[in-house]
Chain length 168, copies 8
């Protein structure tokens, strides 16, 4: 995509099926994005360059997903001033508690906007990115409202169907 | 303050000393804000009105701090499309683990940008709000860089002092 | 069913197989109920209307099941004065610990009667609803005693069978 | 009090300052109650007699508070069919997590309506008891609404005071 | 078996495959035992009778396995003075943490000798029972030593085999 | 004391105030005991000698208290066949969860009878030791019954006093 | 292998597939090693002999993997002064939290260099052993740099491939 | 000190009283060290320079202590090939669980030798550093044995004193 506004990074290609949720949202909202793999620990130089060049390349938000001692989001947050959204991924025997705490418990001065562990968190990372972009892009605000309304409509339909199926 | 851009809400006045950290950051960055108390459970009507009127009143970001089954941030996030930042507060015997999970584990569709438990989280909520606002306010971006640099400078000074105090 | 006394709501249709346990109990005790889907976050308006109309429509108890940052029970509890029973559901990598804490750790003033995580909790929600209704419906009290006695009898039979199978 | 409708029991006299919160609510709502100490483990006979005689003596709800391997509420729930409300108390180094799990994770068939750990949970136990009683006592329903409204009013006042104190 | 010295009880027949580990040990050591199902919550009367008659019937130790809010071992411990061994069973979404805490965190005055969660714990319950019985039965002490030595021998053999398989 | 039947060991002298609870029980029941400090990690040789000589010196039960990665009870259990009772002690920032898991989660083959974390656990270790000894010492059985009855009596008295203090 | 520099031990042969990760690293770096099974609890004598003879036999580092109340690494650390690396293994219902805490929470005086739970931890144990050996073996330092660079290269390639696959 | 062999770094000067434990050990063993403050998040550039220059400046081991989402040790481990020892510090409401998981759960390829949370962990970091250095410095090996023996002697003395104080 040309001129991506959002960068999606993940610590390992095994995180891709989770992080695709974020990409799916951005495609739906027609927000240009880029997606790549880079690791805070195994390729710190690449990660730093990614973070340093982000603003210059026009990125407005970065979404970073990682598991275990998930430092990716915090590492990037320390190297750029654009908002960083962190997605903890359940990829160790500890079921994502490690990734959650390593992502959210950032020290004063360097925030990471942390999402839920796993798939729901990745999708919400996409939505939060759109919300942030929508502050200066009214057309996104409109679409967000539609998205929210459709979500409510779907819940309502499911609810009504369930209602009817019940024994009387 | 006139024309606040950021709303800070908390579930109880006992959360004030924590949430003041967010306010302090906003004052430092000269970002107009408002601050009030409202509860998802004890005053849901007031909370809903707060959320519904937020966008109309010009708020760009809302910071919500709460403890226990901390639903305040998620409640507001369900009622408005502007970005919501959640600060879990350690106010029960469970030490904030309850507030953290109740804030961060949002279902797909309704994100809350969750910060660390307690004081550091509140301060970071202020900084994240400034980062979000800075996307369309270049002067804030400048100040954020200065803030970050000063932070690094302070660490360096502390480090050097410590270095000198050591026995040789 | 006509004139339901108990409302069963859940945050997502994927919770249905769990929440059916509650419905099964109510059918067994011939307590009329209704069952639907509504979400605190994805359809807050629908949820609020559900809660507000509950008492007027004759509901005496509401059972609410949800996973993750499970706010459904607490949300409804904040909008009505009838007793709310919460069932935490294991639907995230955190295995229901998130749903349990988000349901049970309610602030002073707004109780949610919280059950065990998952299937056992859903069945117990049905039983607690019957117990509450039985306070003014002596015929339910009778049936509850029979249910309890049958349960004890079943345990006894299982125990005796096991006893006999043992090598001597 | 004559003809108590609610029984408050606790596993140890050291739980009294917590459980007083439940009693305070009942006094406020003019619901007659009794309060005593009995332990599932140290005085099981006394506890069983308490549970067995409860219904006969006219109790409609029992509130049971205990810490550690908190079996008191579950023990009583196994011996009577009236609704049992459990209050986990933080009285061991494990900060009430033990009491919470031992109270809430009841097997299918024997529910305990579990409240938050500690003081907030005890107060909510009182309110839930009133909510249950109110189903057949309209005057309590009225008072519950007033209580809820006063709570909302207090939040609003606190919020407005905070609003005014802010620097402009 | 005639004149059982050890009683094995479990809260549900679904715990049988786990508790068989304890029985297997007792058969190996030729310690007569009995095994049955009884529940602290679903058949409290049966459980109490079991506990009360234990000593009279000659039982020297009781092994009790249960999951969730696992009160079975503590319930029996409160009703008899013979040593009670508790086996927490992983049978809820919380993976046995609930059963472990509900079994081990007994209040001062009423001990339960708690084993590891699950299969290893059940086997160890059998061994601990034999150890306790061996204090007045020297022939068991002999067999325990042989068992321990065989265990060490097996580890050694496994270790040596592994050693040889390694590439050189 | 001459001819101790119970050995109390602890990993550090800072555990003494906790472990005194076990000693107090043994004195009350007039069971001769010995008490010393030895560490699985800092004095393994001493600990092994203690374990190896235990049976020869006439010890029937060993109570071992330790904090952190609490290996003391398991270490001794691996070196002797007499029953070992483990008391997890809350002496690190992790509040005894570490000591509990390191004590209770023993592998199949080597049981440790684990008590609650801290003071209550230490007292119960003393009582369990008396229960084990009582199997071949009828006079202890008698005293245990008295102890249990006095405990129940105390609960009853406390309960009655509380009853009377209530407003009528 | 002749003259092994690193010893890999594990508590059970079921840990082998995990611990093979450590061996694979050592083979890759051509560091001679030995691998065997020994248990702190089931074969303490063998474990002690292993630890005591380690230094004499030329071992420079020992890697110890175990699950549950994982005492193996700490047991060996108490018996020798060479560096011990501990690998917690997820082999109980508690998912390795028990093994992690039992390995890492060592008391002051006896360190265990603890790795992540499971496979990643075992591989890292191998790498840390090489890092330690490399301090006096410059050729290993060279190879470590190559390993690190290859790792970074692989991340980069994966990242670039992912980049290209994206829809434009 | 001239030519330090060990570097001690910490994320904040508030960690100094904990990290002094490591320094105290190094002084005792006459191992030259340096100590400074640097943060993975607030001064990443300084931290990277520290890591990059470490080997060139002759450091053989780095000890890194941090709290919260403790990335300091992992950050440095990603930038140098010398062994890194991590000390999790209890400095948030989550009591060091966050720091422990963020330090220990490193991905395959980049190990951090993790110590216990807090003071004991910091002291052990010093000892592990000496153990690593001792592999090529026989005089340190000698001192380590003395240290270990003195530790055992102290435990023995404490144990004997306690023995004597007991009532007979």
């Amino acid at each position: 995509m040309k001129n991506p506004l959002v960068g999606i990074v993940m610590g390992s290609s095994s995180d891709l099926s989770i992080m695709e949720e974020a990409a799916g949202i951005l495609r739906r909202f027609k927000v240009p994005y880029e997606m790549t793999v880079t690791s805070a620990h195994r390729s710190p130089e690449r990660t730093r360059e990614y973070a340093h060049s982000a603003q210059r390349r026009g990125l407005q938000v970065i979404i970073a997903g990682a598991g275990g001692a998930a430092h990716l989001a915090g590492f990037i947050a320390a190297e750029t001033m654009i908002p960083i959204i962190g997605v903890p991924i359940d990829s160790t025997p500890l079921k994502g508690v490690d990734a959650l705490l390593a992502t959210v418990q950032m020290p004063a001065g360097v925030p990471v906007a942390t999402m839920a562990v796993g798939r729901a968190g990745a999708r919400n990372a996409g939505i939060l990115a759109v919300q942030i972009l929508s502050l200066s892009r009214p057309e996104l605000r409109e679409k967000l409202l539609e998205y929210r309304e459709e979500m409510a409509r779907q819940v309502e339909e499911t609810g009504k169907k369930l209602n009817k199926k019940q024994p009387s």
